[in-house]
Symmetry: C2
Subunit: 334 residues, 2 copies
């Protein structure tokens, strides 16, 4: 049973709380810090996205279509559905000679309120372009077009693309393919599940891939890390933790959110990988925990802590604007 | 540590889950069924609303202003901010010679999507009228107007109205006033906290108030129960569990939601009170648990179970409309 990671108070007592687990591994795969059950199986969800585009780069599809690092960041991202995101997805699809109907990810309301309101005011319904995974699907389609693979069945587990992704997942998460739990993600792509420990390993391997002795894989990893840290706005969007964390730390820290309370990080200067999972799946507490962890592990400076303060502990404010309680991360001191 | 009450799966494994506690008491206050820690302190939040209007009825304020049972149901409700709700609040305020500025509950987006979209399309911002507690505040103001008490400080704990509510809370929740935790609710009204056991007691006492030997209190309770079961649409709104539960069971079961994962019920035919709290505060799982509990305790018929099925276990459907997992309540079989 995992310990409490975040508490919310009212009137001085804890009214609600979030349990979860944290795993930090070093270059050798040794756990340097952990809280809770690091063997609990869960799905990295969108934190898998960085690895889902390694086959695309290895196959040479990325360069063939003249995609930029900014495009790659969007492919690896869970975007807000802001205009800067949807326009870029449309452009990638156009390069591939495809329409948004090929995305197959389903429509999603834009996460960013401004764009959400704009859609409603213009009597428009959200489309697949607004889906936070539309960049990822564009990358998938690029792979298919490059290798003349079917673009209608690319989300099926037995499609060659998904089989390649499963191989890469097995490599980076250090689990045999048959030990990966198979599920379907929010966007209908196959998703693989594994213990939290392996999720931390994968993020360490993203920045320590030399151990695989496959220079083209290391080159792909470097490209992905460069892309997401150079264009963090594409990885999430306005007022999002991933974007702000990577902007503020200028590439020193790589962070990616996943649905259902997931956060994964890679720390190049330490050669560490980190995975965080909130048991109840609430989105939000994982950022508080990540912020607190980076602070306690002294991985971010005082200035950076201040710049990212809004993602840490906060006062609970009611509809009338009055402070009624506190929300704070709470785990064993390091 | 409370057990798991609701699990969400993906790919056949549990991806996220909600812990919590349940307490069912009989007429004598004996626990007839429980799960988890029934002594854990939490706030009933909006499940306190039924009791917050007893002083209003006792003082004769309700009749003086010619309010109807439908008005009373709205005062006791956490409404969706639908037009039927906001218009009635406006009318009550007008009867009191007050404007919405007196509500002091803060603006809230309407919970019901249709009204939410309508506001955005007409370039309007939500107001205090849309706040789910605006009916409650209208009731508070009626009490103040009736007794010539200040209407600007009525949300302060030392205001005579709040002192009366504290007395009533102490009576129904069977705890001395000085043992009630004091907090501030989402609408800025004082809120009292207590163990889950006492929250179950209060809902039992709502339907078994003869023990207090105060006929006017029993009469007030009967009036509240009649109002909320006769006008369930006022207690919550379209597509809401409280409304549908009380409509379907035609007054045989009284149910009220509270923020942060609370659900309280009174079962007149059994003379039972029930309180449910989800540890992590998520809204939704408490309805699944309530539905399952009513089913397992055989408090609702097969037909009623079917009519309320959408609040029970469900398939998790992704953006593209595909089933990707299941959400189901899970607790010790009764």
């Amino acid at each position: 049973m995992n310990p409490v990671l975040v508490e919310n108070t009212r009137g001085g007592v804890v009214e609600s709380f979030h349990r979860g687990s944290i795993c930090v591994v070093d270059k050798t795969g040794k756990i340097v810090f952990s809280v809770g059950d690091t063997q609990q199986v869960s799905f990295p969800r969108s934190a898998l996205k960085f690895f889902q585009h390694i086959p695309l780069i290895l196959a040479g599809a990325f360069d063939k279509f003249g995609f930029t690092d900014e495009d790659l960041a969007l492919m690896c991202g869970s975007h807000n559905g802001e205009t800067i995101h949807t326009e870029k997805v449309e452009k990638m699809l156009s390069t591939l000679g495809l329409q948004m109907e090929s995305l197959h990810c389903g429509p999603q309301q834009p996460t960013h309120k401004k764009d959400f309101v704009r859609l409603i005011k213009s009597n428009q319904e959200p489309t697949c372009l607004h889906n936070n995974c539309s960049g990822k699907h564009s990358g998938f389609l690029a792979y298919c077009k490059h290798l003349n693979l079917p673009t209608n069945s690319y989300l099926q587990l037995d499609h060659p693309l998904q089989q390649e992704i499963r191989k890469i997942t097995s490599l980076f998460y250090e689990l045999p393919e048959n030990q990966l739990v198979v599920g379907v993600d929010g966007c209908s792509a196959p998703i693989f599940g594994m213990p939290l420990y392996n999720q931390a390993l994968a993020y360490k391997n993203l920045i320590c891939s030399e151990k695989f002795n496959q220079p083209e894989i290391t080159s792909a990893c470097n490209r992905i890390v460069k892309a997401v840290t150079s264009f963090p706005l594409m990885v999430a969007g306005t007022k999002r933790y991933c974007t702000d964390l990577m902007s503020v730390t200028q590439g020193r820290i790589i962070g990616k959110t996943g649905a259902d309370g997931v956060y994964c990080l890679a720390i190049p200067e330490k050669e560490w990988g980190i995975a965080i999972k909130i048991d109840d799946g609430k989105m939000g507490p994982q950022y508080q925990v990540a912020h607190q962890l980076l602070k306690e592990l002294k991985l971010i400076s005082t200035t950076e802590i201040q710049q990212l303060e809004k993602y840490g502990n906060f006062s609970i404010v009611n509809f009338a604007g009055n402070v009624v309680g506190d929300s704070y991360s709470k785990f064993i001191n390091i």
